[in-house]
Symmetry: C2
């Protein structure tokens, strides 16, 4: 997939209040593209020399990421706050510096818990496929597990 | 380069005291391979689905990484503590969640400051070249800048 041109990162970019020098605060996804709530995105590393990108996503209290799957994989580290996370058929409570690995074609969703924003970095291949949303049938199958049904709300 | 076989990461691995479930504490490099002091390495994400790896390095107070350069690039985020970092001809003080980008063929070194260990995650291409150490002549050139000479000690 073509990526928009982006100038190389400066050697040093400082952190302050979950923002970084020169890093714009972006929408999580195009509005209406998929169901999600209260998330922002910041691209921390994205340049032609690196085969992966590192993004920072922040979910406000009560927010959640899109329930989706894709061929590409995610390597996630929580940076702040707490969430319940669905990966395949497992749901786990996570907190700062915990790791989450999303294998290929595995349904996943992050939902904040508690009163604080939940932020995480996500490492992902620069060349990757588009996420898939569950069909009504696939959602039915997922929700046949009462724990997952309760998680999805 | 061939990488040793490694089983896929579990979906969830918890953090505690700068260690992670199932993640072994490794030597930074082979002893005697290059100059460095007081560093450990933990590989947080390394699997065939991801084109990059994420490693966590921790440098004890007074420690430092190898002064080196290579064709591959690094995307670094500080997780704890503080350091002075050399990238090319720039030296900067960094602290938790600051970002450091090491471009190709750029001399770099991390040196802790303060009384705390300094830890950082480093994103790097899975396929990469071997680091180069400076020759005596290259070291001479680097040290012709008095600020860099003082940094290198």
């Amino acid at each position: 997939m073509d990526k928009p041109e982006r100038k190389p990162e400066a050697p040093f970019r400082s952190f302050g209040d979950y923002r970084w020098d020169e890093v714009p605060l972006l929408a999580y996804k195009e509005e209406g593209a998929a169901p999600f709530k209260a998330i922002t995105r910041q691209v921390l590393f994205q340049n032609p020399e690196l085969a992966c990108e590192m993004r920072y996503f922040e979910v406000a209290p009560g927010g959640y990421s899109t329930l989706e799957r894709h061929q590409h994989s995610h390597g996630v580290m929580i940076l702040r706050g707490a969430a319940d996370v669905l990966v395949g058929s497992q749901i786990r409570a996570v907190k700062t510096f915990d790791l989450v690995h999303i294998p290929p074609m595995t349904w996943h969703q992050f939902r904040t818990t508690g009163e604080e924003p939940m932020g995480f970095v996500c490492m992902v291949n620069a060349a990757r496929d588009k996420p898939q949303l569950p069909t009504a049938d696939e959602l039915e199958v997922l929700k046949s597990d009462p724990v997952i049904a309760a998680f999805l709300g």
